[in-house]
Amino acid sequence: MQNEAGADGLTAVHEHHGEAHAAHNPALLHHFAAPEQQRDAASLGMWVFLATEIMFFGGLFCAYLVYRRWYFPSFAAASKSMDAGLGATNTAVLICSSLTVVLAVWAAQTARRTLLIGSLILTMIFGLAFLGIKGKEYRDKFEEHHVPGVSFSFENVPVPGHPGEYANPRHAQIFFALYFVMTGIHALHMIVGLGIFAWLLTMSWKGRFSPQWHTPIEIGGLYWHFVDIIWIYLFPLLYLIDRHA
């Protein structure tokens, strides 16, 4: 562990790592000088990671934008075939989960163990509910043959607001392709989030967090909120194209 000698007289005994801080904070890694530095690094790290996530979804939004401009009537028709009620419900579910996340962070800051654990459990329940509803929507789409591929069928679906006009199945298929990729990747993020929260829950259960140190809850929360924000955009983009009429 210890480096006794440099090449020259600069040598000094390296302060044994962590011991001084270990009393408050067993989690301080010893390449950090202070807990604040460690927490700031973690939080910046998560923000930077979220920036990469924006670009990750950005590629999909780009594809979506291109085809929505091109194939607007079919996109509108396809969007209309979605169950916007379920979509809105899911949005509400995620918003509730964001509330419980923020409560969890607050509980950790103020050392409210029961609230902390309760909020984390609620968050996970909301997350599972979201995935359940999503699963049902996927099943519906499957049954309606709206899943792109050989069995895809979208014949004679009228274009909203244009009587007598029908969606082009090929264009609608692109909509559904984007729908499944976008929501699928979003759901994947939810599943990862659930994993993170399961871990946070065990940590909280074991009493690892304190008002001095609860960085994992904070940055886990940032991640969860971000996934929520993505959905906030996916909902109108996928479910609410030209719904009137």
């Binding site: 562990m1 210890q2 480096n3 006794e4 000698a5 440099g6 090449a7 020259d8 600069l10 040598t11 000094a12 005994v13 390296h14 890694l29 010893h30 390449h31 950090f32 000088a33 530095q37 700031d40 690094a41 910046l44 790290g45 930077v48 990671f49 920036a51 990469t52 996530e53 670009m55 990750f56 979804f57 950005g58 590629g59 999909l60 780009c62 594809a63 291109v66 085809y67 194939y71 792109p148 591929g149 082009n168 090929r170 264009h171 298929q173 692109i174 392709a177 984007l178 990729v181 990747i185």
Partner: protein
């Protein structure tokens, strides 16, 4: 403390006075201590090994390409094999060699030391990113050994999604994973540079190497995710025929190109910026001078990173984009060339009134200057719309990017490896051999790639395995192949003598070049946490005037 069992992989000290020193190399022994290490310096060495491996794989493919092109007829390999060769050559060289090369090896090793930190901000993530690289690399190897891919490294649709039956998805996943590794490296650098600087290490005291890596990280962070999602779409399209890139199903194949180049153009700056950082350090040290126009060089790195995102469609001038769009992207391409020009001029000005030493790293730096300038200037040809129409997809382009990537980036990488070798290994490399290698690489390189400019303007298309319809191209191709063999020797030489020096080289002092920079203020090789006490920086970057102050002895630089 573990018992010190000598390990065959690790050079054992030959000199008694060195035997007592503990450093990152000899602190722990055994394969496990390497595979589980979170020490950024050890991870850098893990990368060094794996990247060298992939460089030789890629180089091996290059040699086969060149052998095939020795004669006009397609006689050495089959057409499909050739197509796989250049595809795998490009993919390996780009994604598994050049993109990780300097950041993951030298950057990993030096970024914390240069800013006075004990390690990167997230050492375990750093290890994870090496493992991701290895998993991606293993997948790539598996893919190559079981058939490979034949789309070119650019994966153009609809060929890749509907017309080839090679292992696109597997190669895609390999690149996806390697991309993740690249993102994590960038993330670690950004956070480390923001959060872990030693007291007194202000932004304008940062070595320009750090600025270059900071700019590189921006690209890695914001560009790589886009290629990742593009790969996902290609894989999905291929598996399920979604139609997103398939014109038969209403999709647009050009959308793929937009998304691909949105990453892959900035990616070329991932390859060159770190190399520019290395060159800056070398030029300052071997001219014993502060870099001319420090702030301009620093900000030009950031400018390259940002402008680099504005020019991607210059790869698509004849692809069918709108004329208006082509004009915009051509214009912006010149905007990104400007910061590169600023760098070249400032390096040149740094030499003025310097005290210039001709050690091997400096020879590589000279090589870089010359070849990067030629490569960059030919980039100006390509971004001139009228000319690109003629030379796009010909050997002119091949020559352009090899001048920058091999002549520029790889030269910089080799220069950096030599420059910091004493720090990394604690040994000096043999100077005479190193100078010879630099010379051979330079000559071999020009012989290989200069003829390709001529070939390109004459009209030889790239990715052609058989040119029997145009035998007039043969002479230049023969020159190119001859050059490539010389180049291969030039690359093998450093392998040999650097390995040799790990055991036999003279032990290096703390600061053999009398160079500025915190990394030289600790032992060679450094202790595990880099510094025995946290450094406090009270001096400006490149304080060569102080280092060379007359009251000190003249420090021998050349050996």
């Amino acid at each position: 403390m573990q018992p010190t069992i000598p390990h065959p992989m690790i050079p054992q000290p030959v000199f008694p006075e060195a035997a007592e020193q503990k450093n990152y190399l000899n602190e722990k022994y055994g394969a496990w201590s390497w595979l589980m290490t979170t020490d950024h310096k050890r991870i850098a060495l893990l990368y060094l090994l794996s990247i060298t491996f992939f460089f030789f794989i890629g180089g091996f493919f290059a040699l086969l390409i060149r052998l095939e092109l020795l004669t006009p007829a397609g006689d050495l390999v089959q057409a499909d094999t050739y197509n796989k060769l250049f595809t795998m050559h490009g993919m390996v060289m780009v994604f598994f060699f050049l993109i990780p090369s300097i950041p993951a090896v030298l950057g990993n090793f030096l970024v914390p030391m240069m800013i006075g930190a004990k390690d990167l901000a997230f050492p375990r993530i750093n290890l994870l990113s090496w493992y991701l690289y290895i998993i991606g690399g293993a997948l790539m190897m598996h893919c190559m050994l079981t058939g490979g891919v034949d789309t070119g490294w650019t994966f153009y649709t609809p060929f890749s999604t509907g017309f080839t039956n090679t292992k696109i998805v597997e190669a895609g996943i390999a690149i996806f994973i390697a991309g993740f590794s690249s993102i994590l490296t960038g993330l670690n650098f950004v956070v480390t540079i923001h959060r872990m600087r030693a007291p007194g290490m202000t932004w304008s005291r940062l070595p320009l190497f750090i600025w270059a890596h900071y700019a590189t990280s921006i690209i890695q962070l914001l560009g790589t995710p886009v290629i990742a999602i593009t790969i996902v779409l290609v894989a999905a399209e291929r598996a399920l025929h979604l139609g997103i890139f398939d014109p038969k199903l209403g999709g647009d194949p050009l959308l793929f190109q937009h998304l691909f180049w949105f990453y892959s153009h900035p990616a070329v700056y991932i390859m060159i910026l770190p190399s520019m950082g290395v060159i800056t350090e070398i030029i300052a040290c071997f001219s014993r001078k502060r870099i001319f126009g420090y702030h301009f060089v620093a900000f030009s790195s950031i400018a390259i990173a940002v402008f680099g995102f504005l020019v991607w469609a210059h790869h698509m001038f004849v692809a069918g984009i709108s004329v208006y769009s082509a004009l915009v992207f051509s214009f912006l391409s010149y905007a990104v060339a400007l910061p590169s020009a600023i760098k070249v001029f400032n390096w040149t000005a740094t030499l003025y009134k310097g005290s210039i030493h001709y050690d091997a790293p400096m020879l590589y730096a000279f090589g870089f200057l010359g070849l990067f300038t030629i490569g960059g200037l030919t980039g100006l040809f390509l971004s001139a719309l009228g000319i690109d129409v003629h030379v796009t997809d010909t050997y002119f382009v091949v020559a352009h990017f090899h001048y920058i990537m091999v002549g520029g980036a790889v030269m910089g990488y080799l220069g950096g490896i030599h420059f910091w070798w004493p720090k990394i290994s604690g040994r000096l490399y043999p100077e005479g051999w190193a100078r010879l290698a630099a010379l051979i690489v330079f000559i071999g390189f020009n012989l290989t790639f200069f003829p390709q400019f001529l070939l390109g303007y004459m009209g030889m298309p790239r990715r052609y395995y058989d040119y029997s319809h145009m035998p007039e191209f043969q002479i230049l191709n023969v020159m190119s192949t001859a050059g490539a063999t010389i180049l291969g020797v030039g690359y093998l030489l450093p392998m040999v003598y650097l390995l040799w020096s790990m055991r036999r080289g003279k032990p290096a002092s703390e600061n053999p070049w009398n160079a500025a920079g915190l990394e030289w203020k600790t032992a060679s090789p450094p202790p595990t946490f880099n510094f025995d006490e946290e450094p406090v920086v009270t001096w400006e970057a490149y304080n060569y005037d102080e280092l060379d102050a007359p009251h000190k002895e003249e420090v021998p630089v050349a050996k």
